[in-house]
Subunit: 334 residues, 2 copies
Amino acid sequence: MRISEHSLRCLAIELLQRSGAPALSAELQADLLIEAELRGLPSHGLQRLPRLLARIDRGLVNPVATGQHRWLKHGYLDVDGQRALGPVALMGALEALVPKARNVGLGVAAIRNSNHSGMMAYYVEQAALQGLICIVVTTSEALVHPFGGTRAMLGTNPIAIGIPTGDAPFVLDMATSIVSMGKIHNHALRNEALQPGWAVDEQGRSTSDAEAAKSGALAPFWAAKGYGLGLAVELLVAALAGSEFAPEIAGTLDDTEPANKGDVLILIDPASRDGTGEKLTRYLDMLRACPPADPVHPVAIPGDRMRARRSASLRDGIELPCSLLNELRNLQAA
Amino acid sequence: MRISEHSLRCLAIELLQRSGAPALSAELQADLLIEAELRGLPSHGLQRLPRLLARIDRGLVNPVATGQHRWLKHGYLDVDGQRALGPVALMGALEALVPKARNVGLGVAAIRNSNHSGMMAYYVEQAALQGLICIVVTTSEALVHPFGGTRAMLGTNPIAIGIPTGDAPFVLDMATSIVSMGKIHNHALRNEALQPGWAVDEQGRSTSDAEAAKSGALAPFWAAKGYGLGLAVELLVAALAGSEFAPEIAGTLDDTEPANKGDVLILIDPASRDGTGEKLTRYLDMLRACPPADPVHPVAIPGDRMRARRSASLRDGIELPCSLLNELRNLQAA
């Protein structure tokens, strides 16, 4: 069903405020969910809202917390998330880092004990729009097996990088797993076979059965390289945030456990070089003009497709499964 | 032919000193080349030495330069490499950043106008051995086509990450191309076909002919993800170092042009958290014990195989092609 962005946003804000979130926190959390829907990333969209409301009800999320800030060193911000809404803790850390990056040249924030932060592209884009280079990495439940291994022992550990240009920012946001667990669930729903090499089952055997893969493990993308990057994220976040490793992580996919993953945010101010933005824009335009392998698919820059999809969604509305819309409206009527 | 590490090291140092490099610079440059040989990375080893000596002869490398340091902000070091030997400029920047990272929590250095820095693993390992997290990225000549494109417009843009643990450091060092151009040259030498999807020829057509691929372009690894990461490195380095983009870069594979690529180095001090190293070591040992897909190949940690190879090379000597050894001995006799 197609619904306007505005009516879905109002619905999400209302539900969050009724659960005890102050207006600004409810609006920020809703923005994360709505922006994911607008950009065609429903796995980080409104389907997460009922679980989030249940987590607030059970005290696993504190909707009024904003995170406790402590500068371990002049450029290193430690954040105890105090069970805050993920976007409230992460955006609070980002805002505290902005003046530090402008002043010192760069800063790092490490957050533990906060909830699921949603689409990482959101944060690095916000930073890039303020002229700052931003790298965000985060950990998750164990869903990915090490290269050559057969048990889920790493998170999907996404890497997001935002870089300001003279035009729209460069925005990369990618998991280090071969596909998302959401994609496996979609294949299971539609009874479709998985591609070879995507996943193993609970016994660690390679499988094309999506249902069996749900209790197994995803492969890292591109074997040793994706594994190496995912593991680097796992270690970096645990070392800087003091959060847990994947095998001990819970609380972003369930409504029974406190969230104990971590997030790390690095912000760098490149502003000391004049004309850099325009130089980057010219190079990206050269790439867009590269002779394509298939004339129907010109070369794209990370962020391009997401922005096009967002414009279309704002114009045409957001496509939401009826079951999800009914669930949200029932929560509203309750 | 097998030669001892020590005799090759003495040979390299002698040749570099005779070309005008001061003792410490010659020793550092030689160490980079020898360490690459020891770790089984001959593409970054002694085969680069004759070209490097020719570059010194022609004034493209200034063997006495060490790089000019300027702190753009308290934590942001700008380095004009002044045509220095790559390792001299990069290690000089790393050393200047160490006290900054300890004091501020982190620091960034951006280097332009210096020469090929060799194996990135070297630097991040050195930093990790001092208890610091280190990320190094660097750009190169255009060798990689954008995802969906057919012309080489990006460098191989490696990403190296070193993280201290309670034991040997985690050391990741990976190009963002699907394979190295060195591997293409090896296939051409041995007249072997390339795997599908590795490369395109000069006209941008997919090819399995290694000879044709040498004047074409490599694919990014894992399609859109490798392309996105490689492009992020391209933009990050140009924005922070003020260096050129791949299509304009020269001077690391030839002996006729000044080098105009860039390097970026981020150093973070995680030392404020006690017991972190041991926690990381326990997790890495859990991963090594993960049930393997193939019992002959247990799960490895990035850095493990390199260290094992290094020990074996120190014991058994370095395997060097006779032609290269003769070339180096002729230079010594000249």
